[in-house]
Symmetry: C2
Subunit: 392 residues, 2 copies
């Protein structure tokens, strides 16, 4: 009998994809939509690196086109190892790194590796919407740990301890956070690491935004619990190649070698062209200049959005993001249903954003606003229209 | 408790990866290995296309770098739709096509979509080694259908009927075949299509080599049973970008939309740079000239290998491949264990090939020889050494 796997029921189209589809329809209707929904940088990769790639494309050889090892080319894994040392003082040798076809493949392969049906996995509330469907697809039950603006969206480790059971397999934590922009505090990080070791659970740390920091410092959980931390990373944000699909996982050697195997079965090897690109980038002088440039640009835009929110949405409650691309605004003084509001905002005011319900079971009156995907004047105009829509 | 998923036991490192690792060690020892193992073209993509890409890399925009729709950019799906029409007279609209991160992702996502634990899946014997671990990982039992050189490695549909049970979910067939190079005959194709419809099972057809044909014509099973055929395709062979990871699936709309969803969860979107490249290629005048050129080049190399086999390995039995990159040689007149022979050949004669046991439960005295990855004089020398090793 032709039929489809029942497990597919857990996989739903990404909510931002739904917004993209609606945006696309409005665009075809000639509407100019202000995009505050996209988690995609607007500053392209460094021109020096692009020029070097253009040269390589002229060479008459298969070298640029051939398969690479499943874990990625050694040159890139070495460059990542050195990068982690320079960024955070980490000591992660190349054989504890596997390159993946983007952060999504890093997430999929990591969860495929560690989850057994019947496990429990702790997710923050709010957290990045990409984890829920995967955790459920692999057969685990989700336990939500609510975090609060009043507590800077830090996990409450005493409360967390009560949520851990013998079935708990992993705790997933995004820092710098999507959607709240908070950095994990050193105290919370230490308590989380101890918790993971004491209960012998995996701490899956999503460090997608680790070089997008405007104030404060990123804490590398791996330094605190190297045997218990698996780290998910992406080159989508830095150096801004989301479509090229490249990321990596680092962690204990046995975990990484299994994650590599899953990636081999999923995609055989990560895209070679992107691997060459990022190896050139990470090893070049451009690396830290480029980070400095985009951080300055995105910090300025963050400040513009924060100012506009204070002006046009005075009763919105939010944390000023220390990192990432987003501000998460609680609009419960204005509305109850962020999803209905987001739909109205898009259809009537041509502004796209992501409702809080995509990240949370409780923050349904919140919305996530991206401050990286549009130019400053359009950011202000977008927030102004949010205020206008809320006033109605 | 930190632990790993038990299902991972079904995933084994690709056998050609093991050979690659050994080759790499020998290379470091300064040994010049003749590579008859690799299923990787040696003629790079058309220079016109590479030049156009190099130009695009100079543009100051995020367009080349951003996420694409999960199913791939419309321009590419349209180009694939037109290509299928020109190649085979197929009528497959863009919404029945989903672009994937290579043929491997096409395989993984298709099997994830159709297999339920407890299903049975019929594989030819011999067949491409990539299917077995995935079928088992997703929880199905493999039923082997042996094919014979005497019968041109065609499936025997009467015998197949006896192997179909109520649990049979799918039959997977590679044509042009890896490892035997046979094209499915029109009669066998018709009988297979009828079988799939009569028993309402999926016919998964792997068409990786559909433009690598030296004699005869490729039969598109989709034309015979459009509601029952899911087709796996890759751009790794044509236009020779195996490392860039791009492929596609076409089939019934409901199946393709579910396969798309799995790909979205696995990798979010296929690599955008490769998508742009192939869209340019498929729509360009270069397309059919390029196919003509590589087919002529690889046909000449095939003939060189066939001649060398007849001269140096006179008791080897094989089918002259009508397509693909390989000749599958039964060496049972010389040896019993192809795996031990392959190992000895690599270590003592510096020639890499793939033993038959990787493709088969029965053809253990066979080896697969690739005729595309080396220059003609090295192909002859490689076969000469095979003869020498067999003579000992």
């Amino acid at each position: 009998m032709r039929a489809f796997s029942e497990r597919l029921a857990y996989l739903r189209e990404s909510p931002t994809r739904k917004i993209d589809a609606l945006r696309e329809r409005l665009r075809r209707e000639g509407r100019d939509v202000i995009v505050l929904s996209a988690g995609q940088p607007s500053i392209p990769p460094p021109v020096e690196v692009r020029r070097r790639l253009a040269e390589l494309l002229q060479e008459e050889s298969m070298e640029l086109y051939g398969y690479t090892p499943s874990q990625g080319i050694y040159e890139l894994r070495e460059a990542v190892s050195e990068d982690l040392k320079r960024l955070g003082g980490l000591d992660v040798p190349p054989d504890q790194i596997t390159i993946t076809a983007g952060g999504q493949a890093a997430m999929f392969s990591t969860l495929a590796t560690i989850i057994e049906p019947g496990d429990e996995v702790v997710l923050m509330d709010p957290t990045y919407f990409g984890y829920k469907p995967l955790v459920e697809y692999f057969g685990a039950r989700i336990v939500r740990h609510r975090t609060y603006l009043e507590n800077d969206y830090q996990p409450d480790v005493e409360r967390l301890k009560e949520q851990i059971t013998p079935k708990t397999k992993a705790l997933i934590l995004v820092s710098p956070d999507n959607p709240t922009g908070r950095l994990l505090s050193p105290e919370a990080a230490k308590a989380l690491a101890d918790l993971a070791v004491d209960h012998d659970i995996w701490l899956v740390t999503d460090e997608a935004y680790k070089t997008m920091i405007y104030e404060g410092e990123h804490v590398y959980l791996y330094k605190l619990a190297p045997e218990h931390v698996i780290s998910i990373n992406t080159f989508s944000k830095d150096p801004a190649i989301p479509g090229w699909r490249l990321g990596y996982v680092y962690g204990p050697k046995d975990a990484v070698s299994k994650i590599k195997l899953v990636n081999e079965e999923m995609v055989y090897c990560p895209p070679s062209f992107a691997q060459r690109m990022v190896a050139i980038y990470l090893k070049s002088d451009v690396r830290f200049r480029y980070i400095k440039e985009f951080v300055a640009a995105y910090r300025a835009r963050r400040d513009i959005v924060i100012d506009a929110l204070r002006r046009y949405v005075p009763d919105g409650r939010f944390k000023v993001p220390q990192g990432s691309m987003f501000v998460f605004v609680d609009l419960s003084k204005y509305i109850a249903d962020g999803e209905a509001f987001a739909q109205k905002l898009l259809e009537e005011y041509s502004v796209a954003l992501v409702p809080g319900s995509y990240f949370s079971d409780v923050y349904k009156a919140a919305v996530r606003i991206s401050f990286v995907a549009e130019r400053p004047e359009r950011l202000v105009e977008g927030v102004r229209r949010i205020g206008e829509a809320l006033a109605k």
